[in-house]
C-alpha cells in the first residue's frame, strides 16, 4: 500500500444532495528506516465540503496486537461515504498508530529496546523517533473536540465494550461518555503511568480524550464491533457531526459504572497453571460462583477454583492461557460497594 503519504482527496457526492464529503489522507509523522521503508502514521480526514462543525479524532493500533479498531474504523468510513449528506463535522481517523507493531502482531514498538508507545506521550519534538512520533501525533490531535483511543483486550482477554476515563477528568466527561452507549464506564485510578498515555497526555493538555476498550475475539469480529461502531455514531450525533440514523443514547443511570476502587473487584490467580475460564464476560455473577479453574496437566489436577469474591458484573475476563500468581483473571463491577 502506498496511499499513506502525502495528501489525496476524494469527493463523495450523492445525487440530489448539495453537500459532499472530502476525504483526505495525510501523513502525520514519518521516519525513514534503514532499508527503503518509512514508519508512517497516517490520518484519514472526512469533512463536509463546506467545512466547519466539531472535530472528532478516532485513533487505534497504538498496541500492535490489538486489531479490533481496524474493523471499527473501516465500518465508520464506509458509512460516512455511503451517507455523505449526514456528515456535518470533521472525523479524523488514525487506524495505525504503531503500524510496524500491527504488522508483526507485537504490542510494543518493535525497535531498539521495544518500548510501549502508550507510555511515551506527550513526546518531544527533538527526541528519539518514537518520542518525536508521539509529539507529532499529539500536535495533530490537540484542539479536537474529542479524541477516542480504541483499544482491545488482547488475545488473552475478553472485555465488555467500555469507556475508560481518568478519574481526575471523569466527572467532566461523564455525560458525554454515555452517548457512546458503552456496556460499562470505568474511572481509571490516578496512576503516574496514565499521564504518559495518549489520552492522559491529551487531557493534561486540555483536549478531551477517552479510551474505548472492547472485546478482541479475532475469529468473530462482526460479533463484537457493532456496539462500538454504533456507539461512536451516536456520539457523533450528540456532537452535531452526524445527522444520520443512530441508536438511541443509553441513559447514564442504565450504564454500570466503576467509579472507585471500592466498586471494582479484581480476581487474580494465586497459583501457576493453565486457566480454563467459564463463559462469564457480560454476566452478573453471585458471590462464590465459579469463574474458571486453573489446571495442572502434568499431574492431572485442578490447582485452583476461581470463585467470584463478590456479586457483580464480569466486564473483563482472561482467556484460556498460562497464568502466574498475580495474573489478572477477571474484573467485576461490584453489585454493592465494599
Amino acid at each position: 500500500m502506498n496511499n499513506r503519504g502525502g495528501v489525496a482527496s476524494s469527493l463523495f457526492e450523492r445525487e440530489g444532495f448539495r453537500l459532499a464529503v472530502i476525504k483526505e489522507i495525510s501523513t502525520v509523522a514519518s521516519v525513514a528506516m534503514p532499508l527503503g521503508e518509512n514508519w508512517t502514521v497516517s490520518r484519514c480526514r472526512y469533512s463536509p465540503e463546506d467545512g466547519g462543525g466539531a472535530r472528532l479524532c478516532i485513533a487505534t493500533g497504538i498496541h500492535g496486537d490489538e486489531m479490533m479498531g481496524q474493523l471499527v474504523i473501516y465500518a465508520i468510513a464506509q458509512r460516512i461515504m455511503k451517507e455523505p449528506e449526514h456528515l456535518h463535522g470533521v472525523v479524523d481517523m488514525y487506524p495505525m498508530l504503531n503500524p510496524i507493531g500491527l504488522d508483526m502482531g507485537e504490542r510494543l514498538v518493535p525497535f531498539s529496546t521495544r518500548l510501549d508507545m502508550n507510555r511515551a506521550f506527550p513526546g518531544v519534538p527533538d527526541g528519539t523517533p518514537l518520542e518525536a512520533m508521539c509529539y507529532s501525533i499529539m500536535q495533530d490531535m490537540l484542539g479536537a473536540d474529542l479524541v477516542l483511543d480504541i483499544h482491545a483486550g488482547t488475545m488473552k482477554k475478553s472485555e465488555l465494550y467500555q469507556v475508560r476515563m481518568h478519574e481526575t477528568t471523569a466527572e467532566r466527561m461523564l455525560s458525554g461518555a454515555a452517548d457512546l452507549c458503552p456496556q460499562l464506564i470505568w474511572y481509571v485510578p490516578n496512576k503516574p503511568a496514565f499521564n504518559a498515555t495518549l489520552t492522559g497526555a491529551l487531557n493534561a493538555a486540555g483536549t478531551l480524550a477517552l479510551v474505548l476498550e472492547a472485546d478482541e475475539r479475532r475469529r468473530r469480529p462482526y460479533v463484537t464491533t457493532p456496539a462500538v461502531i454504533e456507539g461512536i455514531f451516536c456520539k457523533m450525533k450528540a456532537m452535531g457531526i452526524w445527522s444520520g440514523e443512530t441508536i438511541a443514547p443509553r441513559r447514564l443511570e442504565d450504564i454500570p459504572m466503576v467509579r472507585s476502587e471500592e466498586e471494582l473487584c479484581r480476581v487474580s490467580a494465586t497459583k501457576p497453571g493453565v486457566y480454563v475460564p467459564e463463559n462469564c464476560t457480560g454476566r452478573e455473577v453471585e458471590r462464590g460462583q465459579l469463574l474458571g479453574i486453573v489446571i495442572d496437566a502434568l499431574n492431572g489436577e485442578k490447582v485452583e477454583e476461581i470463585l467470584a469474591p463478590a456479586a457483580g458484573l464480569v466486564f473483563s475476563q482472561r482467556s484460556y492461557s498460562a497464568v502466574y500468581p498475580g495474573t489478572l483473571l477477571a474484573r467485576l463491577c461490584r453489585k454493592e460497594r465494599v
Binding site: V31, A32, S112, R119, T128, K191, V323, Y324, G326
Partner: protein, 308 residues
C-alpha cells in the same frame, strides 16, 4: 553471607523464579546494590556477581564494618534472562516501569512491590542499569532531579561524571525515581555495555561501588582513589541525531574527545555503500554516549556530546 529469597514467582511450565538477595554484615541497612531488572542486562548481572564474590571475601576477613549491612540483588528477572527477553516475557512488561508496585497487582507489579519493600529500607541504593537505546556510555552515576537528590554524595563513587537528569512523566514509575521519593539516596550506575560483558567497564564499576561503600563507612577495603567527579545536567549534553536512515559506520567512540566539526560517523546506504550523511559534532567536548546498533533510522539520536 546470608542468602535471602526476596520473592518467588511460581511458574507452571518452567521452574520457579527466585529473586535472591545476598546479605553481608549486620545492623543498619546501609546500602543495597541491584543488578538486572531487564533480561538483557548481562553486564549489570556480571558486576553484581563479582561484587558478591568480593564482599564474601572481605566479610571473611572482617571487612564489613560493625553495625552496617549491605545487600546485593544480582537479578530480579532470571526467567527472562534465560530466554534473552529484555522485558518480563509473559506480560511483555518492563519491571522498571512498575514501581512502586502493587502486592495485589499483576505479576510484574508484585515483583516490583516485593523488591521495593526490601530496597526502600536501605539508606543508599545503587542500581546498575541500561539505557532504553542500545549503546555505550562513559561510565557515570545518574540520578533524577526530584528535589531529594544528593549529587555531592554521588561524587564518592569516583566516576568522572554525576549526571542529574530532569525526569519525564514516564520516569515516575522507575525504581530510581520512586526510591528517591521514598527517602533512599538512589544512584543509577551506567556500566558500559548491556548485552555483553565489558571487562574494563565492569572493573571500573566494581571499583566505584567499593569506593562508595568505603567512603560511606560500610566496608573497609583497600581501594585506589577515584576521579574527581563533575556534576552535569541535561543542559551540558548535546544530542547528535542522524537525519538519514541506513547503516552506521562510526569513526569515533564513547569517551573520545572531539573538536567542533569533527567527523563522528557516516550513515551509508545499506545496499550501494553511498554516504547519505556525515555526522559531525556541533561542539567541542567528549562523546558521552554512542549508539552501537548497526542501523539507524531517520532522526535517531546517535551520539551525546558532553560540552561543559
Amino acid at each position: 553471607m546470608k542468602k535471602d529469597v526476596i520473592f518467588t514467582v511460581e511458574s507452571y511450565f518452567r521452574d520457579d523464579m527466585n529473586i535472591m538477595g545476598y546479605r553481608f554484615g549486620k545492623g543498619e541497612k546501609s546500602c543495597v546494590v541491584l543488578g538486572a531488572l531487564r533480561g538483557d542486562e548481562v553486564q549489570q548481572l556480571y558486576v553484581c556477581a563479582r561484587l558478591v564474590a568480593f564482599l564474601r571475601e572481605i566479610e571473611r576477613d572482617g571487612g564489613i564494618m560493625p553495625g552496617k549491612s549491605v545487600m546485593v540483588v544480582p537479578t530480579a528477572i532470571g526467567l527472562s534472562m534465560n530466554t534473552g527477553s529484555r522485558l518480563w516475557a509473559p506480560e511483555n512488561m518492563d519491571i522498571n516501569r512498575r514501581f512502586p508496585g502493587d502486592a495485589q497487582g499483576a505479576t510484574t507489579e508484585r515483583i516490583a512491590a516485593a523488591l521495593f519493600d526490601k530496597l526502600k529500607a536501605y539508606k543508599y541504593g545503587v542500581q546498575l542499569t541500561s539505557f532504553y537505546q542500545p549503546g555505550s556510555f562513559v561510565p557515570h552515576v545518574r540520578m533524577m532531579e526530584t528535589g531529594r537528590q544528593n549529587p555531592e554524595l554521588g561524587c564518592e563513587f569516583g566516576l568522572p561524571y554525576v549526571y542529574v537528569r530532569t525526569p519525564r512523566i514516564s520516569d515516575q514509575t522507575t525504581l530510581n525515581y520512586c526510591w528517591q521519593m521514598a527517602g533512599t539516596q538512589a544512584y543509577s550506575l551506567y556500566a558500559g555495555k548491556t548485552q555483553e560483558i565489558d571487562e574494563a567497564a565492569a572493573d571500573q564499576t566494581l571499583r566505584a561501588i567499593i569506593r562508595f561503600l568505603n567512603g560511606r563507612g560500610v566496608i573497609r577495603s583497600d581501594m585506589t582513589p577515584g576521579q574527581k567527579s563533575a556534576v552535569i545536567t541535561n543542559e551540558d549534553i548535546m544530542t547528535v541525531a542522524s537525519k538519514s536512515a541506513g547503516l552506521l559506520r562510526r569513526v569515533k567512540h564513547a569517551g573520545a574527545h572531539v573538536r567542533r566539526g569533527e567527523q563522528l560517523a557516516f550513515v551509508i546506504n545499506p545496499q550501494d555503500g553511498a554516504v547519505r550523511e556525515v555526522l559531525k559534532t556541533p561542539a567541542t567536548g567528549m562523546l558521552f554516549f554512542m549508539q552501537d546498533g548497526p542501523f539507524v533510522t531517520e532522526n535517531s539520536p546517535v551520539f551525546q556530546i558532553l560540552s561543559k
